[in-house]
Symmetry: C2
Subunit: 360 residues, 2 copies
Amino acid sequence: MINPHRYCVIMCGGVGSRFWPYSRESRPKQFIDFLGTGRTLLQMSYDRILPIVRPENVLVVTNARYLDLIREQLPDVPEDNILLEPARRNTAPCIAWAAYHIAAKDPEASIMVAPSDHLITREALFEESILRGFDFVEHHDALLTLGIKPTRPETGYGYIQVGAPVDGNIFKVKTFTEKPKLELAKVFLETGEFFWNSGIFLWSVKSIIDALKQNAPDLSRSFDEGLDKFGTPAEKQFIVENFPGCISISIDFAVMEKAKNVYVETVDFGWNDLGTWSALYDNSPKNRDANVTQNCTVMAFNATDNIFAVDGEKLVVVYGLKGYIVADAGDVLLICPKSEEQRIKQMVNDVKMTLGDKYL
Amino acid sequence: MINPHRYCVIMCGGVGSRFWPYSRESRPKQFIDFLGTGRTLLQMSYDRILPIVRPENVLVVTNARYLDLIREQLPDVPEDNILLEPARRNTAPCIAWAAYHIAAKDPEASIMVAPSDHLITREALFEESILRGFDFVEHHDALLTLGIKPTRPETGYGYIQVGAPVDGNIFKVKTFTEKPKLELAKVFLETGEFFWNSGIFLWSVKSIIDALKQNAPDLSRSFDEGLDKFGTPAEKQFIVENFPGCISISIDFAVMEKAKNVYVETVDFGWNDLGTWSALYDNSPKNRDANVTQNCTVMAFNATDNIFAVDGEKLVVVYGLKGYIVADAGDVLLICPKSEEQRIKQMVNDVKMTLGDKYL
């Protein structure tokens, strides 16, 4: 039987600009069948938590413009569970709103917060880890984050250093370190004390609201002012008026790096944040020419180490290309070396400046 | 007034495999708006000869599978003027059939034979040259070929060496040389005596049939057997039964290199056979990054010397690519260095072997 006090908040407001043109502002990464499985990343995130949380306890927080996509892709999520942010304000305001919303409905709630656009390959281990985490936060005043066992000295992630062991694979958090240099990342990997910050959190609704009050009082005050409105028809108008005034800050900066009751559950369930083309390339199955293909048929001649992400039933024939991203989606074709993918953002900006919003 | 004895035979059976996937077996190069002008190469070829030849005297010789494309693109060509080859047999049988077909209708005819997929930019000079050529072959027993003044030591073309001058820019032909090595091509260019073989011919119907009898007697015999059928309803059946048995040979090998009465008119009307991507690249206007774009919008960053041929309203964003062909058409995307374009044919063959005819 599924515990009726358990909730899941799926954060679904990202624009996924790093995967342009495969991912667009009008249809970001989480809304795409990114791996050609027939389900979008959002749908996979939803499917994954259904064994743990009742469908009516799943909330989706997103930007207002994606309402139709949410309805289309998650038809079983009740309309009241779709929280539409009137402005983009990073994760802390998003998480605070969801907490106040749930508290009004169920003061005994425990909450898992999860991104909508990550990949998890070992779902049985995932389920086990989440159940373990819920159990922990239901018995402790704890802010629990999931730390992924690192497999490489990745410089694009945040790292969590474990402190004193508490219970099995749950530890006090010793330090947070954002995006270390490569040398440091290598040391982190060697020590075995550092884990990737997955962006998956668990806590009781009471613990997170208390933590917001202590560590981000301005933010919690904004929401306290509407305390009588959450869970009522007045909530929507209150959010429209007050949410845009919230500080834009991540939950890590606003709460996790300050609070005393922060714990990490170390996990190893085949996680990938699908954050960059190179990360996607590195973590995808490759054919014998070391090419990765997403959704397309590729015939490669003397061409290696490329990633091809092409919409529809397209055949790609390529000769003599090495280490490139080839992304063809709708009305845009992008060709760029993987080693230069940090330039995509600027190129998208140039497209916008030159040709307007049409291709974003 | 247009001379009613003048005819034009447009040869339109090529499959254009070198421009795959931009050109397909189902819609070869001549049927494509290759230069984004709103008219296909075939239509441009047709338009070009209308000031010289009556519409009812224009014949199109093509493969049976392209009948619908011809009807669609050249609605003014009478159905009886579309000669459908039941098999592909190179230019000599094609030209012989057209000659016998026209002879049955008009023994006084003079004929221009022209490819359907070449580009000619200086149409006034073209018209002048063709009128001059018709006039010549109507007063001489002559097989006249048009020789293009060369602009570079091209190794992909045939060359014609001029002999004794006959009249203005018409000369006896001294030699034919197929695709010379680069060193020889450079010498050809320096001497000023060598001209590119354009594949455009003029002759009286009597001269070409006589030349076929003398130089390709097996071929002319095949057609002589149906002499009473040309221009009658029995012609079609005769061709279906006899054409496939003809030798597959070019008119150059079968007749031009053997006959004694071969002449060349040297011309300079902005000709390009659009035979290779590199030739197309070399002869196309370039943007400031030395990229050529066909039918598409390209934003190139640190990318030079490429040719982009992309169907539809597509934006191409490219970083760090040099000297490539990027051809995106329908369900195929091809990426290949210009310097390796001779491999495209083999790649198309591999596609066929691996995936069948679907993408050809």
